[in-house]
Amino acid sequence: MWREIRDREAGQTRPSSFKSRVESSRIADIQLSNYKEFVSPHRGSINSLQVDLTEGRYLLSGASDASAAVFDVQRAVDYEAGGLIAKHKFLFSVDKQCENGHKYAVSSAVWYPIDTGLFVTGSYDQCVKVWDTNTTQVVMNFKLPGKVYKTAMSSLASSHMLIATGTEDVQIRLCDIASGAFAHTLSGHRDGVMTVEWSTSNEWVLISGGCDGAIRLWDIRRAGCFLVLDQNRTQLGRRPPVLPRTSMNKVSTSGALSSSQHSFVKPRAIQKKPNNGNGIKPSSLSRTPSKVSVKQRLHPGLLSCQDRATAHYGAVTSLGMTQDGTYLLSAGSDSRIRLWDVDSGCNTLVNFETVRLQTSKTIQLATTHDSTLVFVPCMSSVKAFDIWSGRTITTLRGHYEYVNCCWFNSQDQELYTGGNDRQILVWTPSRLSPNDDPESTEDRDNWSD
């Protein structure tokens, strides 16, 4: 630790690498926090957690008792046990008592990505509501044809304000906040849509996972989906380049270099952005020429055999993109987690050592900022996997019932998890200096005989 700081002082290590090194070391020994806890006002299982994307300070939770609450992650409301335990009480909550509040369980609650003035909740009462944070009033209400499983807003959208909703219905509807109407209806899934996710690299690309086991990628500017992920289309050949890349990520000191190395891998290449597309197509063709050509040819309406491809046996319960938008993680009710190369649409065959996953509910994965770890709720525990090798790094046990969602706060390297036992738990890196812990008097060996 001290040596690293000295190196940094001497300018031997770059700031970014120093930062990532510290971060990864902190993440490595993440554990249940004893000095920080959220006082959950929910009286039902917690289905969704999200920290706002602008300040990284306000945690939004949605729960089965039709309520949603906001917590301040940074500042505690009161302290207990002589300032040892910081209790974070909710700043406000909205529930059934609220005017126009949800009637049934809130399945999904997300922040408006641009600021914290709005948030969106989707509920089993077939409604998606947009709330004003300051007045805690509903400002917009979308009535959908079935239970809402998942809502999503694109974090990098600059030209649209669409809420993607996955519902019981086979169609994905995009609710436009600007107009208050459904802007799009995307049909293609053969069963309810469990989860939707916007691409982290392209504001027009939407990814959806359905109960029919298919993961579809949509370009919302065009009709139909342009890619259905097939679990049988594998890409073992691409794996060797993946591993060096990650090791490079860790070791290499220049972020710029690595990004330049990867740029040709990005899916952006294949899709829109016409200026880029031309330049990069040859490189991707050179790697997997046949596949790309097929895709290109088929684009608007896919071949029916390709259209029937499945990504999981059973429903797809969760989707998560790495921060650079290159890879996609999906979890299914077949208790598998798969890592997809979005570029080629291939299953990378990484074997994640899962035990069991919840099957009936949408779960929420969380990836670290540098795409090294993924946190997956595995029944009543949360497991941290190495994304590239699938190894289990740690198993976080603390919940007494199933865990539904987790959110990684990369700013503080904290993990928040919510489960059926109505608790929101905070997992933090263990404190640096043990002197801070006044464990002195009470918690000691006490041998009376």
């Binding site: 249940l32 004893n34 335990i85 603390g398 608790q423 006490n446």
Partner: protein, 658 residues
């Protein structure tokens, strides 16, 4: 190191392998000492205990939980190790997961659950701050699963608080009293002083009067040697007696005053003094100087009072005695309620007539006692005959009481005796607003009333004594089943001796004969019961004797009958022997069975109680019964027995027909 490593494991396993409800304290101590000095031992112990908690036996889990608690409260390392898997531990000990209920012996399992909840609360109270997982577990069980925690600490705190409040309240009262005392202190002192002074004066007066009287001179010391000591003692006593002041007509007034003052002194001042002193001792004030001085004063006063009292006692022996006497009487009268006499007695026994007093008082007392008796009688209703004390005073009444029947209580007793018509609308109820006419003079005739209030009598069945089967059981003792004819396990009921062996060779007609005798017995019993009833009414004591006699008679009669039947049997046996050769008798069969069963039973019982035996389901009497009854062989045998029995009754009716 490795050796000792095995040691803690062995110790724990040994400690948990027991059926007792607690861990052997020696083993526990050994475990603690082993674990104390090495971290690896702690790790091993935690591992072993968690493994044991996974065993499918509540007893093992219970004992390991106790050991876990012991170590948990002591070792920090152990705590951290256990807390890691706290959810697992809780699910194994509390059994809150529906798919993982607690294992077999249900009694132990419930104890395990309560204990685990109790421990969790304790851990949470003492270490919850340092371990988030303990807090979480506690919270989960308490707020989400709504387990009832014993809440020991809060209860203790509440009790403490209550006690403190009570103490505060009593302190407040004491302080108030003390303040009152400080106000009234001089007053009290003066009052007491004046009383004491008066007593002293009275004594002075009495004494001075007494001195005028001539004393018999006593100058016979020279005779002393010759007299026996007893006589001497007697004489000294009489002399002393003479020295005492005698009450006579002259100083009567003085004595009266003295007596009254004395009474005042004893009943009021001394008692109140005692109270004040206790208050002073108990009270806690900011400055104790005034209190101490007061206390000192009070003690002085008390001592002076006591000395005065003693003087009074010395002055007249009769004084305290009469006082006491009077007091006694007064008290007695006071507590007798509803009497007219007390005031009279009081007036008669007041010190106005002290000369007669001693005699009068005794006679009065006697009178009072007799009165008391007379009054007692009607008050306490003696239910029946046999009360000696009161009988002589009211012979007619006791006679009537003896004759009166004992009635059960009921509403018909309200209308006992009077044969009157009853007004129907005579209750003062508001009837005006009812529709229709109201007949205020409506009357329910007396017959109707009598009819309505007919006492209900319940038919009581006469208790028939059914003889127990008395067949020997394989676990010892005799079968206590009472069946009329046939015991389902031991066949036809046969008279048996003390060890359960049949008195006679059990043969078929033989049995039926016995049945008949039994029925006769029962009949006889009924008659006897009637006699007994009469006897009960007449004299209580006779009853027991009679019962014994009747029993004896019964027995005699039975023997007689047996003897009579024996002859017929003798004849019949010879006939039946042939029949017996054809078919096996039931008694033989059942005998075999019993033997076989008893053998296997012994094997079962001889085993010591082990953990495995706790798991085994207890064989209840119901199981045994069903096993026995559903046994085809047994049921067949019973059926056969019964049909043969029917045959036999026919044969009994015509005994000479074969």
């Amino acid at each position: 190191m490795e050796e000792s490593g095995g040691k803690v494991r062995a110790l724990i396993e040994k400690a948990t392998n027991s059926t007792a409800s607690h861990v052997d304290s020696r083993l526990l101590k050994a475990i603690k000492t082993v674990v104390r000095y090495s971290d690896s031992e702690v790790r091993l112990a935690a591992q072993t205990l968690m493994d044991l908690m996974k065993r499918d036996h509540s007893q093992i889990r219970y004992l390991s939980l106790i050991i876990i608690d012991e170590l948990f409260m002591r070792s920090k390392l152990f705590r951290t190790l256990i807390v890691e898997n706290l959810d697992q531990l809780l699910s194994l000990s509390v059994g809150f997961r529906r798919n993982l209920p607690l294992p077999a012996p249900p009694a132990v399992a419930s104890v395990l659950r309560t204990k685990a909840i109790e421990f969790l609360e304790k851990w949470n109270n003492s270490f919850g701050i340092h371990y988030r997982k303990i807090r979480l577990g506690f919270d989960y069980l308490k707020n989400i699963l709504r387990f009832q925690f014993p809440n020991l600490q809060a209860n203790a705190a509440r009790i403490q608080q209550e006690r403190r409040e009570r103490a505060m309240k009593s302190m407040e009262i004491l302080r108030n009293k003390f303040e009152m005392l400080t106000k009234n202190f001089t007053l009290i002192k003066e009052e007491i002083h004046s009383t004491v002074d008066e007593i002293n004066e009275c004594l002075e007066i009495a004494r001075s009067k007494e001195e005028n009287l001539p004393f018999g001179t006593l100058d016979d010391e020279d005779f002393d040697e010759f007299r026996p000591s007893e006589l001497q003692q007697l004489r000294i006593d009489s002399l002393k007696e003479a020295e005492k002041i005698r009450e006579n007509s002259e100083n009567k007034v003085v004595f009266d005053a003295l007596r009254e003052l004395y009474k005042l002194l004893v009943t009021k001042h001394l008692v109140s003094l005692k109270e004040w002193i206790s208050v002073l001792i108990r009270v806690e004030m900011a400055d104790n100087s005034s209190r101490d001085s007061m206390l000192k004063d009070f003690i002085d006063i008390r001592n002076s009072l006591l000395s005065v009292k003693k003087k009074c006692m010395e002055s007249g022996c009769s004084l305290p005695e009469t006082e006491k006497h009077l007091k006694d009487e007064e008290e007695e009268d006071f507590w007798e309620e509803g009497k007219v006499e007390p005031s009279e007695i009081d007036s008669s026994s007041t010190p106005a007539e002290p000369s007669k007093k001693s005699l009068a008082s005794t006679s009065e007392e006697v009178k009072i006692h007799t009165h008391k008796h007379n009054y007692e009688n009607p008050k306490i209703k003696k239910p029946l005959v046999g009360q000696h004390g009161s009988t002589d005073s009211n012979p007619l009444r006791s006679k009537l009481m003896a004759e009166a029947p004992i009635m059960n209580w009921g509403s018909y007793l309200d209308n006992w005796g009077p044969k009157r018509d009853v007004m129907a609308n005579y209750r003062g109820l508001e009837l005006e607003s009812h529709w229709g006419r109201v007949d205020y003079d409506a009357v329910i005739p007396a017959e109707k009333i009598a009819e309505l209030s007919l006492p209900a009598m319940l038919y009581k069945e006469e208790q028939v004594e059914i003889q127990p089967c008395n067949a020997p059981l394989r676990k010892g003792g005799l079968c206590q089943r009472r069946d009329l004819k046939v015991c389902p396990f031991h066949g036809v009921i046969v008279p048996r001796d003390g060890e359960g062996n049949p008195l006679h060779q059990s043969n078929v007609p033989n049995n039926t004969n016995n049945q008949n005798t039994m029925v006769d017995d029962i009949n006889f019993n009924l008659g006897d019961n009637l006699v007994e009833k009469l006897a009960e009414k007449a004299v209580k004591n006779v009853r027991n004797r009679d019962q014994e006699e009747s029993r004896k008679r019964k027995f005699d009669k039975r023997l007689e009958k047996r003897a009579k039947l024996a002859k017929i049997r003798e004849h019949n046996e010879s006939v039946l022997r042939h029949a017996a050769l054809a078919s096996t008798s039931h008694s033989a069969v059942s005998g075999e069975e019993a033997e076989a069963a008893s053998e296997e039973g012994h094997l079962f019982r001889e085993k010591k109680e082990t953990l495995a035996s706790m798991l085994r389901k207890k064989v209840t009497s119901k199981d045994r019964l069903s096993k026995r009854l559903l046994n085809t062989r047994a049921s067949d045998a019973t059926i056969r027995q019964l049909t043969i029995g029917e045959d036999a009754t026919y044969r009994e009716a015509f005994p000479n027909q074969w």
